[in-house]
């Protein structure tokens, strides 16, 4: 017999039946690091960039602390070099037909397939995540992403006609992330013709490896550039000329700060913030399966963050018992061990958990920890926190990985109130075997993704994103593509930064206005007041401002709205919102058509007012007719929104819902006082939003004429119109925390202020930056861009089975 390889321990294991180590060799990862002499630079324009005189940061094994390589830290000039490379590459990359880009992406997918062992061992080695999750999950999904987006690229000319790539995209990734987060964003960007500069945190070799694999494919070396450097480079990258969009993925407060600092800058900003998820466990759920959902969400290396767990009171004890039982069987250990559920995510993550747990305990919470976990740092045991008082500070902050905070609820209605009572809106799952209840909860949750009786499923064709303070950028599916597109013919976004704009005083004071004499002219006296809650009301300030016609005569007085009027208008809009959002698209269309008919009846009055503002009679009549057409068009268009997706490996549909944003604030442009007002009002209402509008400052009277019809046609509060000082009203709306989105068509300074102020609740903002818009043209006045911005997407996963 050959030499015996058996060790002495078999006897003990036979009795104890314990698990042993299943180490995965990471020799190939080390060999790859050796090809770089254990010194990683940046990968720019298809070449390694290793500039001299740079600081370096060690890349360490998060568990052993062993130094794996040193990573050079980029400086401003390296960032500039990367952006320049991407800018040059953009010219040819975007000019090629989509099929060529599709080929490149497919080839990259094949390269990944051939070198997947290198990819998964390197990723697991440096991030500490369980290798099984990287190998079976991330690497496979990365290939699927490339294939899916290759298909999108190949059909781009037909499917996305009327859109063009933005340009160079700056991608910013957080300190702890899976390389998949990068894949989710670079795939759609590259597919539609953008090029990318990714700024990754110090010591992240996997993105560099991916960039190398892509660069070595040949003809398009500069499309994907990766530089690594500290967070202080973020503003430098974002303000590089040529960067058209910054996609930021990371912590909430960093995103907020970036939103403020990028106000008025050239680059558009897409935010994906926070990692917390939510799980709703009702009393009709398969509790054992729901417990596995909790494991998937928080106690595996699949989910990125912690979990807020809401359990129906009647099954609280049973669910807690099963959770605790299950926790005892979880295993944690070195990520490169093939039989662990959880790896380790470094010392910083560990400290965060400890702080959270200590604080929760001091605030009265019970903490349960279990599992087969090495006791030394940086391992964190799976943690279950319960009895945390709802008003305590810990209940408000984001739950870190691997913590689950459980709290009870009594009824489904209460569950929705609790679940929606947080500023975060990422993802959630609903566990209920009652179809009606599950759908009620799924539709009612204010989040980007809802899984019914599952948690954490992902697919390239399903859009993933969030709402509220989780940021409104999307990846995957059609929504992911639109992130990197803009309507064809739109000029490249330019900086409208005004360094001396004082955010504290912009629009703070309202210049006082004096009586300017009586109204004269042939037209009847214009309506007076603020249109709030379905009727004309006197302004809080009890003063008015004169409006002059094109020849300088007094056309009429409008009410001088202020902060309190905005508050009242937003409240009225909120009251009307549930009723309006709950209407079918058909019912909403019927009301928009009724308003269109009313406008046509009022045609002569409207046209004569437009004439007094200097329009030719024919043009004025045309504007009224076009306005009525816009109302009808949006009413019809919104019938065909949302669709069903089919996902590989899932039986059952995924619904892509288009839900209203909530209360939408619209500041209308000065020009086209009627058409622009209606063109903005129509899509906003058609998608189920309620609105607070500031009409044209030059001639708000036309909007007020429309209000007379809205008063009879619409339910109260649906559309509210506040006149007054434009900057002041803009300020009030932009700073309002309970306005869910804002469209601003006005000055560059106003745009900058709106972008800055939106950081408060991270409302999505669409600001014109002082650029005029051709409202009478179909593309700019009624294009698909308005529809995209008037609603948000929600993906609702509905797995089926008997």
């Amino acid at each position: 017999m050959a030499a015996t390889r058996a060790g002495p321990r078999a006897r003990e294991i036979f009795t104890s039946l314990e698990y042993g180590p299943v180490p995965e060799s990471h020799a190939c990862a080390l060999a790859w690091l050796d090809t770089q002499d254990r010194c990683l630079g940046h990968y720019v324009n298809g070449k390694w960039l290793k500039p001299e005189h740079r600081n370096s940061v060690p890349c360490q094994d998060p568990i052993t602390g062993e130094n794996l390589a040193s990573c050079l830290q980029a400086q401003a000039e390296d960032v500039a070099a990367a952006v320049e490379a991407a800018r040059m590459a953009f010219k040819s990359w975007s000019a090629h037909p989509g099929v060529v880009r599709a080929q490149h992406l497919t080839r990259l997918a094949k390269v990944i397939q051939k070198h997947q062992r290198l990819l998964w061992t390197l990723e697991s080695l440096v991030t500490g995540r369980a290798v099984r999750e990287v190998r079976d999950g991330d690497v496979q999904l990365a290939q699927q992403l490339l294939h899916y987006h290759a298909i999108q690229a190949s059909t781009q000319e037909e499917a996305l006609a009327g859109w063009e790539p933005m340009g160079v995209i700056g991608l910013i990734l957080p300190p702890t992330f899976s390389f998949l987060e990068m894949m989710w964003r670079i795939c759609p960007a590259l597919a539609v013709g953008c090029t990318v500069v990714a700024l990754v945190p110090p010591a992240s070799p996997t993105p560099l490896l991916l960039a190398q694999l892509s660069g070595e494919l040949g003809p398009f070396p500069g499309v994907l550039n990766v530089i690594s450097g500290p967070a202080s480079l973020v503003p430098i990258l974002a303000s590089q000329p040529g960067i058209q969009k910054v996609a930021f993925c990371g912590a909430l407060e960093e995103g907020r700060a970036l939103r403020r600092s990028l106000a008025g800058e050239c680059a558009e900003l897409g935010l994906a913030l926070g990692t917390e998820s939510l799980l709703l466990l009702t009393d009709t759920a398969d509790i054992d399966s729901a417990v596995e959902g909790v494991v998937d969400a928080a106690w595996s290396d699949r989910g990125p963050g912690g979990l807020r767990l809401l359990i129906q009171e009647s099954v609280w004890d049973e669910a807690m018992r099963r959770l605790q039982e299950r926790m005892g069987r979880l295993r944690s250990g070195r990520g490169l061990d093939g039989a662990v559920d959880m790896g380790a995510r470094g010392a910083a993550a560990c400290d965060l958990v400890q702080r959270f747990v200590c604080e929760a305990q001091s605030q009265g919470a019970q903490v349960f920890q279990a599992g087969d976990v090495p006791s030394e740092r940086p391992f964190c045991p799976p943690t279950l926190v319960s009895n945390l008082p709802p008003a305590s500070p810990c209940a408000q902050v984001e739950v870190p990985w691997p913590v689950v905070v459980a709290s009870p609820f009594r009824t489904a209605k209460e569950a929705l109130l609790v679940a929606n009572g947080t500023p975060r809106g990422g993802s959630a799952s609903v566990w209920s075997e009652r179809l009606g209840q599950a759908l009620e909860l799924g539709y009612g949750l204010q989040v980007g993704t809802v899984w019914i009786n599952a948690h954490g499923l992902r697919d390239p064709s399903v859009p993933t994103g969030g709402c509220k303070e989780s940021g409104c950028s999307w990846h995957g599916g059609p929504d992911g593509l639109y992130e990197y597109l803009r309507p064809s013919g739109t000029p490249a976004q330019l900086s409208c930064l005004s360094k001396n704009l004082n955010y504290d005083t912009f629009g703070l004071a309202v210049p006082s206005t004096l009586p300017a004499g009586p109204e004269i002219g042939p037209s009847p006296a214009p309506p007076y007041g603020l249109f709030v809650g379905g009727r004309f009301q006197a302004p809080g300030a009890r003063s008015s401002r004169p409006i002059r016609d094109s020849s300088g005569n007094l056309h009429g007085y409008v009410a001088e709205g202020g902060a309190k009027d905005i508050r009242g208008a937003v409240e009225a809009a909120h009251q009307a919102f549930p009723g309006w959002a709950g209407q079918s698209p058909g019912a909403r269309a019927a009301l928009l058509w009724a308003l269109a008919a009313a406008l046509e009846r009022r045609k002569s009055t409207l046209a004569s007012r437009l004439e007094r503002q200097g329009a030719e009679l024919k043009a004025a009549e045309a504007e009224v007719e076009l306005s009525a057409r816009r109302l009808r068009a949006w009413g019809a268009r919104v019938q065909a929104q949302g669709h069903t997706l089919q996902v590989a490996g899932l039986r059952g549909p995924v619904l892509r819902l288009r839900e209203p944003l909530g209360v939408l604030a619209v500041v209308c442009p000065d020009e086209w006082p009627l058409l622009a007002f209606v063109s903005l009002l129509a899509p906003a209402l058609a998608y189920g939003n309620t609105v607070v509008m500031v009409p044209s400052a030059a001639c708000p009277l036309l909007a007020l004429e429309v209000c007379q019809d809205m008063a009879t046609v619409f339910p109260a509060g649906l559309a509210n119109v506040v006149t007054g000082d434009r900057d002041h009203l803009t300020r009030c709306l932009a700073l309002h925390q309970d306005v869910q989105a804002m469209w601003y068509f006005g000055s560059a300074q106003g745009s900058q202020f709106v972008e800055w102020a939106s950081a408060g609740n991270l409302k999505p903002v669409w600001a014109s930056r002082g650029c005029p818009r051709a409202w009478d043209q179909e593309a700019e006045g009624a294009g698909p861009e308005l529809g995209l911005r008037a609603a948000r997407t929600k993906a609702l996963w509905l797995p089926m089975g008997d």
């Binding site: 017999m1 015996t4 060790g7 078999a10 036979f14 042993g20 089975g801």
Partner: protein
């Protein structure tokens, strides 16, 4: 078999309250196989443990006393002695948990085991196996005769028409299937059964055994079944009194894996004795 189900008042609300989400259970079944593996000494020790759970089975129409005799010998000496010595496990008395035969072969099995000088229990399928669609009277008589012949464990095929109409029966052990169906022991089904066993234990304190049968052929499969039971029920269920694997060809694959573990070589067919 020492654990007996002492029984409890029939409360049908337990059954009506059970919720099983099929797609979620399927996902769990996939995960459990991927998340837990054992290698090297752990694998060898686990495989030897798996041997002690096997109900070494032959249920063929052409069974005769000679192949029953061979089966019983294999049950007594499941792994080649020199391999066990190399693992220092030769004194652990590793045998299969039982041999499982048709009622008419119980006599042969008892005789053969007696001749081999061991007290491995003889299990018998009974009661109109595998369909169970015979009269209660003959079913009971079948059990009585098998016990008379020396069978100490009876795998009863319940009358499934009763189950499908909501008339339940109790037992000490539940088995995934007869092994004669087109689909036999699958992970999703097992997960549901194991969770039911755990619920019953939590409610009554009674431990019910579990026996997957049919289609478990490879050593790798058997490891997955062990970790499934370990994950869902815990170590206390990993003993022959509460866990059996009904299998006929599994044992030879386990022996091959042990051979490979000990020698570092893959065994030829003739290197290991047949069962």
């Amino acid at each position: 078999m020492s654990a007996y189900n002492r029984g409890t008042e029939l409360d049908l609300s337990w059954i009506s309250k059970i919720q099983v989400n099929h797609p979620a259970v399927l996902r769990r079944a996939e995960q459990i196989q991927a998340r837990r593996t054992v290698k090297k000494e752990w694998q060898a020790a686990w495989l030897l443990k798996a041997v002690t759970f096997i109900d070494l089975t032959t249920l063929s129409g052409d069974d005769t006393s000679s192949n029953i005799q061979r089966l019983c010998y294999k049950a007594k000496y499941p792994i080649r002695e020199d391999l066990l010595k190399a693992l220092n496990m030769h004194d652990k008395g590793i045998t299969t948990a039982a041999v499982c035969v048709y009622p008419a072969r119980v006599c042969d099995a008892v005789k053969a085991l007696k001749a081999a000088g061991c007290n491995i229990p003889v299990a018998s399928v009974a009661t109109g196996f595998p369909a169970g669609q015979t009269h209660l009277k003959t079913r009971l008589e079948e059990i009585r005769l098998a016990v008379e012949d020396g069978a100490t464990e009876i795998d009863v095929v319940i009358n499934r028409s009763l189950v499908l109409t909501g008339q339940w029966e109790g037992s000490d052990f539940i088995k995934t299937s007869t092994g004669k169906e087109t689909v036999n022991a699958t992970f999703p089904v097992a997960i549901v059964m194991l969770r039911a066993i755990r619920d019953f234990f939590w409610k009554t304190g009674n431990k019910i055994g579990f026996k997957p049968a049919g289609g478990i052929r490879s050593a790798k499969d058997s490891l997955a079944w062990l970790s499934l039971v370990k994950e869902e029920l815990g170590d206390e269920w990993l003993k022959p009194e509460l866990f059996r694997i009904g299998a006929s060809t599994l044992l030879s694959d386990i022996e091959r894996q042990i051979y490979h573990h000990v020698t570092g070589r893959y065994a030829a067919y003739h290197d290991l004795p047949m069962s």
